[in-house]
Symmetry: C2
Subunit: 168 residues, 2 copies
DNA sequence: GTCTTGTGCTTCGAATTCGAAGCAGGTGTA
DNA sequence: TACACCTGCTTCGAATTCGAAGCACAAGAC
């Protein structure tokens, strides 16, 4: 790594794209966070947890599987699931198959809150993110960024594999 | 707000684009964060602060102006600038024009570290983000997301203006 | 069986985050 | 000058973050 030839700096177009992704992500998260806080007392991660769990047909997911869908530490997930459980939005159950696993299950209150909050969430995203875009833009974005995401999820972070589990 | 007609949910293409932006932003930040930590003992925000200050010709910026470039709370900025100052990477000076202002100035060590770390930073971003993209993709991304960013920076977050200061 | 290793989750401490409240300097108006 | 109101930044406390270390169960080798 040391003594390598100067890596060419990113050209202006690349910089613009890179900064734009980071900035849009941050800004959108902050905006969404405020709406979720106001309308449901949820942080973004709590919302994401509810959403991921609610997505599965049964409304039940293993902690690890939730973690793999989110960009978050496992200990942080433990903490947040505990918060959600305290509010009665999810229940922690143990798996019959694997005594180590913890299943996160959406309670009726959890599903109710998720649905109630989702409307405002969609509104915010639509208003901030999609307003200045047409259908082509949206398609292009999904395509290009989807490719980037797949690439990032594939290439391990140049050391320390993330506890292998990609093989669904 | 209450009793409005059901807002149409986002269609699959929109969802894909929205999720991709959020996920790519998070993943990229985590990857970059690790490189910065390893090679310079910097968090992403600390790096951003150094970068923003270093960008100005003089290597000097007011706290507020730095804050406006970043998506971060002002108190958090105070904290992080203090951390950087403690390591001798920046110096806090008072402005002769406005006694209230604090000027953040890059020290030689700060500039040196910034330059040293930048190489790896660029490598990570290039490897993770740009590898799966061609020039057209990059241009499209910058264009589309740039529009979104401008829109978001314009539209105030449906209450509580961010301490007006956009009029440079 | 039992040993070794792997996996799932939690606990711990230290660091960082935010917004609300506070302080001090500026600006406008009379 | 006196007063009210901005503006720039910091301080405060509570909540949240992470990785390292720990605990318990699982799975394979022998």
């Amino acid at each position: 790594m040391v003594g390598m030839p100067e890596p060419a700096p990113l050209d202006p177009e690349q910089l613009a794209a890179y900064f734009a992704v980071m900035e849009v992500g941050s800004l959108l998260q902050h905006a969404v966070e405020q709406q979720l806080r106001d309308e449901g007392g949820l942080s973004y991660i709590q919302f994401q947890i509810l959403a991921v769990v609610g997505e599965s047909a049964e409304g039940r997911q293993r902690m690890t599987d939730v973690a793999d869908r989110l960009v978050h530490s496992r200990s942080g997930l433990t903490y947040q699931v505990a918060q959600l459980a305290e509010r009665g939005l999810v229940a922690k159950e143990s798996s019959p198959e694997d005594e180590r696993s913890v299943i996160v299950a959406l309670t009726p209150q959890g599903r109710e809150l998720l649905e109630r909050v989702m409307a405002g969430h969609v509104e915010v995203v639509r208003g901030l993110f999609f307003t200045p875009l047409n259908d082509e833009d949206v398609t292009a974005l999904g395509d290009v960024l989807g490719r980037v995401r797949d690439h990032m999820r594939t290439v391990p972070p140049r050391s320390a594999a993330p506890r292998r589990r990609r093989g669904n």
